[in-house]
């Protein structure tokens, strides 16, 4: 009975020092995609590492292959808070295990040292490497693509203003796999053909695709597609993508050109498809449409595997939908003209969220995920103000700090039931008046410094007729 558990080996996950809050939910989503099970020994936190029991090296490689918050995964041989203790444990491990692994001992190898929250110079590094000279490796040293990479980790805490003399913790192990962080570079916005002024950066787009559990052959939809950054990441993981946006000029690549130095030349061939072609993902491009995603445009039985979106917050991108505050006369002269710029009205953020949840409840497959952002004003305790829907459970809620006063949260919902007509509308959205607060920061700062914040400001809104 116990053997099954004993087959698990212990691994060290070493994370990139970026988007700390997204680590746990990204890894857990990947575990879901791989349909495997793991045992956390130490869950991801602010520390740059976490410790996990995994069933095999293959699983470790597959996790690393999907993750972008990870840097690498190592098989953890020994760990300790004291240097001498680490060495004595490693000697013991070497005598018991490594001595018997002839192939490993003959293999070419290199040493890699990770130091977190401290620095090391070259001679210190050499000294550290020499201190492991009792290890039984006889193979040649090979810095480029060696058979095995030995990893030594020193963790000095997370406070760069208060670095201890001795590291808090030390680890030693063997590298299993590097993560996919190189694709962040490959998909970088800096080199992308077409971007808009709120294009999502490559890393967060990939993190979102992982949260949405995008798998090969899934159909992925973005109702606020813009320059299509989120779809590129989704297509990278094998999704077939399509999207819609209300901005005719944007979709047809007729707004200001992407590159500053070319601003005087009109845009040419700048659109979402051109981006997909740039990365060789055009086979996974279904279509992009111009239209208002608050309107019912799709067959109601049309099912999607995931919805990934970054709706406009009304700060750098306008929140608009088709409508008018005036009563119109029917003007028949314009009837034959194509509608490119209908009159638009403000589409408040809580209405956007309501419509998004309604749409997702209708069109997502059971178990499908909705991944979206909401902007948050940091002064307010917003935990009670996340959207709720009868057909969705909130899987994760990760924060990205944007400035001293605002942050945004990545919300991941999973559809847990098919809605009845009533349930479709059973949605609680809290109007946090983000836009108003943002543009009245001074006023709000006064409120928070006096310590008085009135809850009535964030009243729940339930819309019952759509």
């Amino acid at each position: 009975m116990k053997d099954k558990v004993n087959n698990f080996k212990t691994y060290l996950f070493w994370f990139a020092n970026d988007h700390v809050d997204f680590r746990l939910s990204e890894i857990e989503s990947i575990i879901d995609i791989l349909k495997t099970c793991i045992k956390w020994v130490e869950k991801p936190s602010k520390k740059p590492y976490s410790i996990v029991d995994l069933p095999s090296d293959t699983i470790a490689r597959e996790i690393a292959h999907r993750s972008v918050t990870l840097k690498h995964i190592s098989e953890l041989w020994v760990s300790s808070a004291e240097k001498e203790d680490l060495h004595s444990k490693l000697k013991e491990y070497s005598d018991k295990v490594l001595k018997n692994l002839i192939n490993l001992r003959k293999a070419s190898f290199k040493f890699n040292i990770e130091v977190f929250c401290n620095t090391q110079n070259y001679s210190e590094k050499i000294k550290k490497i020499e201190s492991f000279n009792y290890l039984p490796f006889e193979g040649p040293v090979k810095l480029d693509n060696p058979d095995i990479t030995l990893q030594y980790f020193e963790y000095y805490g997370v406070d760069p203003n208060n670095i201890p003399k001795k590291p808090y913790y030390l680890f030693f192990g063997k590298l299993i796999a590097n993560s996919q962080r190189k694709i962040i570079h490959n998909l970088s916005l800096k080199k992308r053909t077409f971007i808009g002024n709120t294009s999502m950066d490559a890393e967060l787009s990939l993190v979102m695709a992982n949260h949405a559990k995008v798998c090969k052959g899934d159909v992925i939809y973005d109702p606020f597609v813009g320059s299509g950054s989120l779809l590129i990441a989704a297509a990278y993981f094998g999704g077939y993508v399509f999207g819609i946006d209300i901005d005719y000029q944007m979709i047809h690549g007729k707004t200001k050109p992407t590159r500053k130095q070319n601003r005087h030349i009109a845009r040419k061939d700048e659109n979402v498809l051109a981006n997909m072609k740039q990365y060789g993902l055009e086979d996974q491009y279904i279509d992009i449409l111009v239209g208002d995603s608050s309107l019912p445009l799709w067959r109601s039985d049309f099912k999607l595997d995931a919805i990934i979106t970054d709706p406009p917050y009304g700060i750098r991108e306008a929140t608009e939908r088709i409508g008018s505050n005036h009563i119109h006369k029917n003007n028949s002269q314009n009837e034959n003209k194509e509608t490119k710029f209908p009159s638009k009205v403000i589409y408040t953020f809580h209405q956007i969220l309501y419509d998004l949840l309604y749409f997702s409840a209708l069109h997502l497959k059971l178990g499908g995920r909705l991944v979206t952002w909401i902007p948050i004003y940091i002064h307010y305790n917003e935990h009670n103000y996340l959207p709720e829907h009868a057909c969705f459970s909130l899987i994760s809620n990760c924060e990205q700090i944007l400035s001293r006063v605002v942050s945004r949260r990545l919300l991941t919902f999973e559809k847990i039931k098919e809605p009845s007509n009533e349930e479709l509308k059973l949605c609680k959205i809290y109007n946090n008046n983000f836009r108003e607060k943002y543009f009245n920061y001074k006023y709000n700062a006064n409120i928070s410094s006096s310590g008085e914040y009135q809850n009535s400001d964030s009243f729940p809104i339930e819309k019952n007729n759509l």
Binding site: K216, G217, V219, Y240, F242, I244, I246, Y248, I251, H252, N271, L273, E282, D283, I286, D287, I288, L289, V290, G291, D292, L295, P296, L297, W298, R299, F302, K303, I322, G323, S324, H328, N330, N334, E338, T339, K340, P342, S343
Partner: protein
Amino acid sequence: MKLVTHNMLTSKCLKGVNTGYPLKLVVKEIRVQSSDFNKEFISKMIPRLDWAVFVVAAKQIGHAGNLPDQLLPDYENNEELLKDVHHALFEVDIYEGELICPETNRKFQISEGIPNMLVKENEL
């Protein structure tokens, strides 16, 4: 615009339109671009399609191949059929044309392969 999108789109957002499906197609320019055939994906897409609407549209644009009017029950194992479906659904792009609401005859332009589903505020 590809036929897979045509198969899902409706004009029911228009005032007084109930189903708005299927949209009539007017084709002015077609571009054909071969793409990777993914058997699992196509098998997964077929049950999501309105088969009859798909076949009529594929025939209209002249890329129906040997698509049967009625979907065969063991389509997952019929690679020829899956390839025909793949071609008609994903390789043929209606680059210039129109979509027309079956109930009101309201036209939606397709230009540069992108359908424009915007409507005026007084049409809602």
